[in-house]
């Protein structure tokens, strides 16, 4: 029924329709299936654009996102290091509407009625959907950090783990810190957004200190047993480039934060007091996914069918990006969220048009980290669907890390950023 209406609305014959690539006089007519995407990050924005493209502009897509512009977490550590500006990591959303006909709604979704297929907006009003795509990123588990609920604590002890106002504020704290001061970075137990991100941040801030205030220290306090990503490459950078500046301590799980004295308390270690505290809290799926009951894995992450990204807890609702319970060896990264977005887009177009579903998704992850203002390292992996295990697995023999940091990979890292921003938003 739905499919017949859709093909009628875009005015094409069944021969082309059967391939799923619907060509012809597609114009937004107010008919056609409706998809609502919640969250305009790497996952959601990509899904919105590609559903429009791959339905030949026949499926109506509404993107609900509170921000006027996309601010990238990748490359934001270079803003903290002072070699990039916020304008370098900011992209407006307008090409999604101008070039692709995505309807942009600058708002938040406050609740979802899965039976009626309707979302409610914070500003009032409702949006109906045939398929809903949630890409709400992560939210922080503040309850795991006693002391952070004190008045003013969250304004003083920053995370800067969602690029934006906190990135700017943390940079100001670093600039204001006296030479000889200590910047302490607390890393939560994995899984968290962007496994190598904290270690890249340590490099960028150490690079800044080495030039602007060389008596200062970067103290890394990691809840994990060891560096969780690109370990040998980061340790080499700290030893070769930032000796005397970076100190790494593993197995440091924060048990309490005293923002008034800038002190971190730990389960098993001595207290640490620092001039600038940067605490990355433990995290879970974005709030809208949790309160809709989709975070079925440890009440933190959303389990999905990896062929469609449809939630295992609710029909017609798909979940992408950092909010999902990851497959083995699948990182929570912007690159991976973009790939989720495209895989989900193809599945949603197939489900809404009756085209054949892709039974063998294959995609990759590429993640660059800057160890100085110019030199970068990478980790890469290729993931394919395993029909027996019903999950994504890495392809044996593929993937790997850089042999050594290089300026060439630094240039590729910046080109990667320009390309993924365009692929996601332009």
């Amino acid at each position: 029924m739905l499919r017949r209406q859709f093909i009628h609305s875009v005015g094409v014959g069944s021969a082309l329709g059967a391939t799923g690539l619907l060509s012809g006089c597609a114009t937004p007519s107010g008919k056609g299936p409706k998809v609502v995407v919640v969250g305009g990050g790497y996952g959601g924005a990509t899904a919105a654009k590609y559903i429009r493209m791959w339905s030949d502009y026949g499926i109506q897509v509404t993107l609900v996102e509170p921000s006027a512009s996309f601010i990238s977490c990748p490359i934001s550590n270079l803003v903290l290091g002072g070699t990039k500006a916020m304008s370098d990591i900011t992209t407006p959303y307008d090409n999604l509407s101008k070039r692709h006909g995505v309807t942009l709604v600058r708002d938040m979704v406050t609740s979802i009625d899965a039976d009626k297929r309707m979302v409610k907006l914070a500003a009032g009003g409702e949006l109906p959907y045939d398929r809903l795509i949630l890409s709400p990123g992560v939210d922080f588990m503040w309850e795991a950090l006693p002391g952070m609920d004190a008045a003013g604590a969250k304004d003083k002890v920053l995370h800067a783990w969602k690029a934006g106002a906190q990135t700017v504020a943390l940079r100001k704290q670093l600039e204001a810190m006296p030479d000889g001061g200590v910047y302490a970075l607390s890393i939560p137990l994995a899984p968290y957004r962007c496994p190598p991100g904290p270690y890249e941040r340590a490099c960028q801030i150490a690079n800044y200190f080495s030039k602007a205030k060389p008596k200062s220290k970067v103290l890394i306090l990691d809840a994990n047993d060891d560096v969780t990503s690109k370990g040998p490459l980061f340790k080499k950078a700290w030893a070769d480039r930032y000796a005397g500046i970076v100190e790494y301590r593993s197995k440091h799980t924060v048990s309490e934060v005293d923002a008034s004295t800038n002190t971190l308390k730990f389960e098993f270690n001595d207290n640490v007091r620092a001039n600038v505290l940067n605490v990355i809290p433990p995290m879970r799926a974005g709030e809208i996914a949790v309160k809709t009951g989709l975070a079925t894995a440890n009440k933190r992450w959303c389990e999905v069918d990896f062929l469609t990204f449809e939630s295992k807890a609710a029909k017609n609702i798909h979940v992408l990006g950092d909010s999902i319970q990851i497959a083995p060896a699948m990182p929570k990264s912007g690159h991976m969220a973009n790939q989720h977005g495209k895989t989900c887009a193809a599945a949603v177009v197939a489900l809404l048009t009756g085209a054949e579903l892709n039974s063998m998704p294959v995609y990759n992850n590429t993640c660059y980290s800057f160890v100085s203002d110019e030199d970068a390292v990478h980790v890469a992996s290729v993931h394919r669907y395993d029909a027996e295990k019903k999950t994504m697995v890495t392809v044996a023999g593929s993937g790997g890390v850089s042999g050594a940091a290089s300026e060439l990979e630094g240039r590729y890292a910046l080109a990667w950023a320009q390309n993924i921003w365009a692929d996601t938003l332009a």
Binding site: A346, A350, N358, V362, G400, W416
Partner: protein
């Protein structure tokens, strides 16, 4: 951003010889979009990365097979190309060769 029907048909014929996956199909588009993060939507890259769209199929395939075998040195493509079967690499080469530059 739309793909003209003529080009879609050329792509369909090019892919017919490459394997079961039809050009223009959601499956083929989905597979090829895994390259787009670095090489641009539909293979048209931003400055600093190589565009794949409209390059001769044989050149694209040879390059990817040489990355895969280790014959051609790379920073990252030798690791990524090993994640795709020879058949998938051939389908990708045909797909991007048929894309407008």
């Amino acid at each position: 951003m739309k793909i003209p029907v003529q080009i879609a048909l050329v792509a369909a014929m090019a892919a017919a010889s490459a394997g079961a996956m039809a050009a223009g199909s959601l499956q083929m588009n989905s597979l090829a979009s895994s390259c787009a993060n670095c090489h641009g939507t539909n293979g048209v890259a931003q400055p600093g990365m190589e565009s794949l769209a409209g390059k001769p199929k044989d050149d694209l395939l040879k390059k990817m097979m040489d990355f895969k075998s280790g014959k051609k040195p790379a920073t990252i493509m030798h690791q990524l190309s090993k994640g795709y079967t020879d058949e998938q690499l051939e389908q990708l080469a045909a797909h991007f060769a048929a894309m407008p530059k």
